[in-house]
Symmetry: C2
Subunit: 439 residues, 2 copies
């Protein structure tokens, strides 16, 4: 039941997967990763460009043999690494020399201690914003794409591809350019002009598909199974197990930036749900490795009311997520049928968190609140997490006395239309006029 989402998208592609020739990757290409394992039945498969279990159609994820030994030595090794996600290379499916390869090197973005916001919201235990707008193309997508690039190299893929309506298109275009790969990105033909520029400027092929985003996705699934798609790495389809691991670095960075401490509470946006599940995975790994103390943490999922299938299921006590038709300004979260929804429900329940949603008006209010208090201009997804944080504090489900981290995963410059902000006054250039304006 719960594996329907991803599987239905991918069945055709899997059935013809044997037709895709790929370079046999050396094990060293994937560092500590040793296999792909099915999230549902646990079966293991060799590391390859696969994404669903041939036995049960469950999604595949990367399994590791993580470095055993002295946590202090590992901590020092990480701290001596570069100021980007490659400092965590020992915990990622990438080769040891990854930092020397041409890649956009995202990550190690600011964890902002948001004291002004904390005062407004009444948080006393320490409130932090993990601000991923500092990434190369200004969204967390750079993290996941960076790992997908390395997997594409390992499999000998020469074209990097994806379907996208925004952040991902730019992230793939930019990463492929830097890595010396060809890119071919598929978008709905009626995308806003600004987003088209961002997707096209890196010089790869950009194809407008006459249809909806769902049509674009279906087309991509067909392409993977066709000889036309030979040598193509679709970051969020046949490279998805590797791609998803990039989100673990958010968990690593937050803990390291808190002084190798787990946050008590963390508020994460939910689109497909992948990011939230990987943050949980990352936190559990740090505990297992002894890099942080083993104590409870709570993970909260945040959705927009206009696309809240996981929040709805959480409130209704369901284990199954019923698809919805998205209608919200938070377009980067507008996935009506989230593949990892059921896992999000599990994690929120297991950790004592919740999944909640806010309407578009509260999203915009929250964008303005974050900007006014901390000078951070978030995209709509950041409005969702801040808005949900406020709501959960108001009704007591977030404890204001605990250390709380809120994710901002994108940049307000990309969703300018969502915020109607204008001058306080418009005056002629005279002191009298300024005096009369009463500012």
């Amino acid at each position: 039941m719960r594996r329907k989402g991803l599987a239905s998208m991918a069945v055709e592609a899997v059935e013809s997967r044997t037709s895709v020739r790929v370079t046999d990757p050396s094990v060293a290409s994937f560092g500590p990763a040793v296999a792909l394992s099915c999230r549902e039945c646990g079966e293991r498969f060799p590391l390859g460009p696969s994404f669903v279990c041939v036995g049960c159609f469950g999604p595949l994820e990367v399994a590791y043999e993580l470095p055993a030994g002295d946590p202090e030595a590992l901590r020092r090794r990480i701290e001596a690494g570069p100021a980007n996600i490659w400092r965590y290379a020992p915990l990622l499916p990438v080769p040891a020399d990854v930092a020397d390869r041409p890649n956009l090197n995202p990550g190690f973005t600011k964890l902002v201690k948001a004291d002004n916001l904390a005062r407004e919201l009444g948080v006393t235990g320490g409130l932090y914003v993990k601000d991923d707008s500092g990434n190369p193309t200004h969204s967390f997508k750079d993290r996941v794409v960076a790992i997908a690039v390395e997997a594409a190299r390992a499999f000998g893929f020469t074209t990097l591809s994806c379907s996208s309506t925004g952040n991902l298109a730019g992230a793939v275009g930019a990463a492929a350019a830097r890595a010396g790969l060809r890119s071919c990105v598929f978008i709905p033909h009626d995308l806003e002009a600004g987003k088209v520029v961002m997707a096209a400027v890196y010089g790869g092929d950009l194809v407008g598909i006459e249809g909806t985003y769902d049509d674009v996705n279906r087309f991509c699934s067909e392409l993977i199974g066709d000889p036309l798609g030979e040598g193509w790495g679709f970051v969020n389809v046949n490279l998805r197990p590797y791609y998803g691991e990039g989100s673990k670095t958010l968990a690593y960075e937050i803990c390291e930036q808190l002084g190798w401490r787990l946050p008590d509470q963390i508020v994460v946006p939910v689109a497909s749900g992948s990011q939230l599940t990987k943050i949980d995975k990352g936190l559990k790994e740090l505990i297992a490795l002894g890099l942080v103390e083993d104590r409870p943490y709570r993970i909260f999922g945040a959705q927009a009311e206009g696309c809240a299938p996981v929040s709805r299921a959480f409130k209704d006590g369901h284990e199954v997520v019923r698809p919805v038709k998205p209608d919200t300004i938070a377009k980067s979260l507008a996935i009506g049928n989230p593949a990892d929804g059921p896992y999000v429900l599990d994690i929120a329940r297991r950790t004592g968190g919740a999944v909640e949603d806010v309407d578009d008006e509260r999203i915009v209010e929250a964008i303005r609140l974050l900007a006014r208090t901390e000078g951070i201009f978030a995209e709509t997804a950041g409005g969702v997490t801040v808005g949900v944080t406020r709501k959960l504090l108001e009704d007591g489900r977030l404890d204001p006395s605990l250390t709380t981290v809120v994710l901002n995963t994108g940049d307000g410059l990309k969703t300018l239309d969502a915020v109607a902000a204008g001058p306080t006054a418009t005056i002629p250039p005279s002191l009298d006029a300024f005096r009369a304006a009463g500012l």
Copy 2:
């Protein structure tokens, strides 16, 4: 003669400056800074919110007593500092505890080894892009505003202000919000909607002035001299000496990121010219402190053909810069009467560099070139520096066998209109149609 630019703008304000009451700052507020000194006559003044010499109307700049002693110890101290400009606090006019204050903490942006671009341009000695789009509001302005915020605090100013047509408005609004200062930013009333949102979203006052950018500037000068402007810090007027020092951090970071080595050649955009002069100042300081080897470096200025007064003067062998009326897509560099133009000429000539310009078509080509080769989407000012770099390599004035650093000071997301980029193809969602497209 050469001091005309800044002085003419500021005379009225200076004459009435005694009417402005400010807190007497403690010396500790400014760290190693000990005085303001006139760039023309060398006269010294106490550290205060002053910006022109009352004796000769020359511009004032910050004078230091920099830390003497073991360079190795200073280098270690810097390297142990935070991953932002405050790691250089011992060399800036800021208090020692600056990193603990609420500030946007810009800087320590990526120095990207641009091997793909180097291959295209035929550079063999190492080509680097210093990419300041990674700053909090995605331009180098965050560096200068961060220092101005600390000066504003030291002088007891409660309102942070500026005139702006773009990057600076957002940087001031964001920095003031985070610092807990009021902001009031003045813009021409007919600014593009996107820029207005970016200036307004941080919740400070935003005032549209019915007039040109020159009218806005004149109005601000009047306001500084009026009781209405009491307690106001205009980052680029009465806080300008402090503000300007923020650009030194570009020089510090480049050298540290090169492994405490001077670049041989550096290409810097020229608007007012301040940034180029401060980069030179920063490099000289590092040499004086023994942090880098004392050897020659060449500084090149880059302008847009549609606003090239300094490039024109350089080519004509003049010491004086004749104002022009700007007409270029590189709006962040469109200062027709650059205050520091004569100093730029001095530095380019003294170091064996040059000042050159490129037309709008080559600016756009260069934006695309940088995006296609390195995955960096620069604003038009980045197109100017990359375009000028290419031109100087073509005519042999840049030596391709030397280590070369090119500055990208802003973000392509803010100048989307300059780049007309679109889909390679638009097709129905079918493999046949994709095959027919021949991609």
